[in-house]
Symmetry: C2
Subunit: 341 residues, 2 copies
């Protein structure tokens, strides 16, 4: 089969890979319908993380091609959406809603690589969710978004305690931040402040539900949020970048007793000063999103056409042109690239 | 009046101070019945924080001596318990349960200094809670404990989501950690693991409700907690120290999706690596405890003799011997010193 491999930073190629096969009885093999490039794929692309013949891709929707003997909730021919984290969905951690830290968990990235024609998904019952029937083609981008970028934004909005009457600020105007805006809106937030300095992303943020835009960053950005909230700070803040500045901007933009949901992948060297955290007195929750917790609800909202997260894809290319997709995102010509098969 | 002043690190004296007077109409003057020395008073005593003619004390119970024109919930002669944080208890932050960050808030420490005969308490309605009648003398230590050490342990247990069926670990066997054990027990925790290497504190922890003791610290301590919890970690961890080691020990002892409640005053230089925090995926909440939120409930439990947190005081001295109390705590001969008036 064809699949995307990053040979070295900046060197992405579509190559022949071995077809996956059932290994464990809980596995399923899916034929990909669509996949995409994640903002986190740019870290190795830019040499900030290692890349050495790395299999790429962790977002996916597709059709079940084959199932192992112990797969019970899915059948061959089902259209499925899967999380970027493998989970059995039965262990104590999964049952508490943190399927991204399942005791049998692993990341789809690297080990599987779903920028490919087929993929073997372990713990298929616990990782994949079938749609009611075969989806209309126009729903595919939104269902694909649920796999990570929407699910991650949703987790962040949930961790930021977005809800009726709440003011939510969003740090980061990438795809995840934009999905955080959409999620906060869906969860009933009254006011949503998108922090962005790019006119086209501001427009998308407003389309997804942002009521205010703040263009400044860092301490200045946090001060701007306080100015908009009677000096108190937002009730909840979504952090979707993962840098030192963005983390502190999020914490300092939150009102005392408020909630920070952080999903920007924190990189080596980012540290939170404990004394500032102590006196900020905010709830902090973040990490790899337990997308599986939210998938049934997200699929339902997409199926009913209540939300259209697929709009976050502003570039669509066939899998064979994946390298162009990486380039477009690296050069910020695209927010997020969908790859068709 | 007499009051405790720290002239320099290690130099604590009982001196004459001016009697306080009503300044604002929302003030009350109280005559102290008892006060005490806090573990945090040892930071300046040991020179880790500055001390220069600092007024000492922030825990207090007493009788209302005089009230300002705008005090409505208290009357002269009421016996009151107050929080170590001044709060109006009406602002948005107070109403959300974070009275320790009230928009009109301040710390009792330094500005007021309740190791003294009298104290002026601003925002008396929002800071003080009256007991139903004059308490029996044997309830005084427990009511005094509610002012900070019990209220702080309770907040930590609440932030650690202690409740039925939960396993809670407690990092720190000082007075606050011991009160955290008591709080976790009261909140219904099934299993309470106290981390302590001091036999007498282990005994007190068991008396307050600890079911297990772990003597190791740091990574070894966290590993011991995982061994006791099927490799997962405790559902909730109370952090009551405030050092780099104790914070990481708490985070690493918590199961994914679990809760860390941290109340050890974090000092300069303690930093949390964001990548470790990201992949730990735990809820983090801490800071100065909003004791006022819990005071009515705590007074009620003490009044009914359901809890006896006053046991945490293992040394009682008259105010004039405060210097001996500081010395005993500094030399770890006492967990916590009560000062009578």
């Amino acid at each position: 089969m064809r699949g995307v491999v990053m040979f070295a930073p900046g060197d992405v190629r579509v190559v022949d890979r071995e077809d996956p096969e059932i290994v464990e009885p809980t596995d399923a093999i899916i034929r990909l319908t669509a996949t995409c490039i994640c903002g986190s794929d740019l870290w190795p692309y830019r040499g900030i993380e290692p890349a050495e013949h790395t299999l790429m891709g962790h977002e996916y929707v597709g059709v079940v091609e084959e199932i192992g003997a112990d797969v019970h909730t899915l059948k061959v021919g089902d259209f499925v959406v899967g999380s970027f984290c493998i989970s059995d969905n039965t262990c104590e951690i999964c049952r508490s809603g943190f399927q991204s830290r399942c005791v049998h968990g692993s990341f789809v990235a690297a080990a599987i690589g779903t920028q490919s024609e087929f993929a073997r998904i372990p713990y298929a019952d616990g990782t994949l969710v079938a749609t009611p029937t075969m989806p209309e083609p126009e729903l595919i981008p939104s269902l694909l978004a649920a796999s990570d970028v929407l699910g991650t934004g949703w987790f962040a909005a949930d961790a930021a305690a977005a809800g009726p009457g709440k003011t939510i600020a969003v740090v980061g105007d990438g795809a995840v931040g934009l999905m955080g805006v959409l999620a906060a809106k869906q969860l009933g937030a009254e006011r949503i402040i998108a922090m962005s300095r790019h006119p086209e992303r501001q427009a998308l943020a407003r389309e997804f539900g942002a009521t205010d835009i703040v263009e400044t960053r860092g301490d200045e950005g946090a001060a701007a949020i306080k100015d908009l909230t009677n000096g108190l700070g937002a009730h909840g803040v979504i952090e979707a970048v993962g840098t030192q500045e963005s983390m502190m901007q999020a914490i300092n933009s939150t009102c005392p007793g408020g909630h920070v949901g952080y999903v920007g992948v924190a990189h080596d060297g980012v540290t939170l000063p404990a004394d500032q955290l102590f006196f900020a007195e905010v709830h902090l929750l973040g990490g790899p999103a337990p997308v599986r917790r939210f998938l049934p609800d997200l699929i339902d909202r997409i199926w009913k056409r209540s939300i259209d997260p697929g709009k976050v894809f502003d570039l669509t290319l066939p899998l064979d042109r994946a390298p162009d997709g990486y380039r477009a995102m690296d050069e910020r010509r695209a927010v997020k690239t969908l790859l068709t098969l």
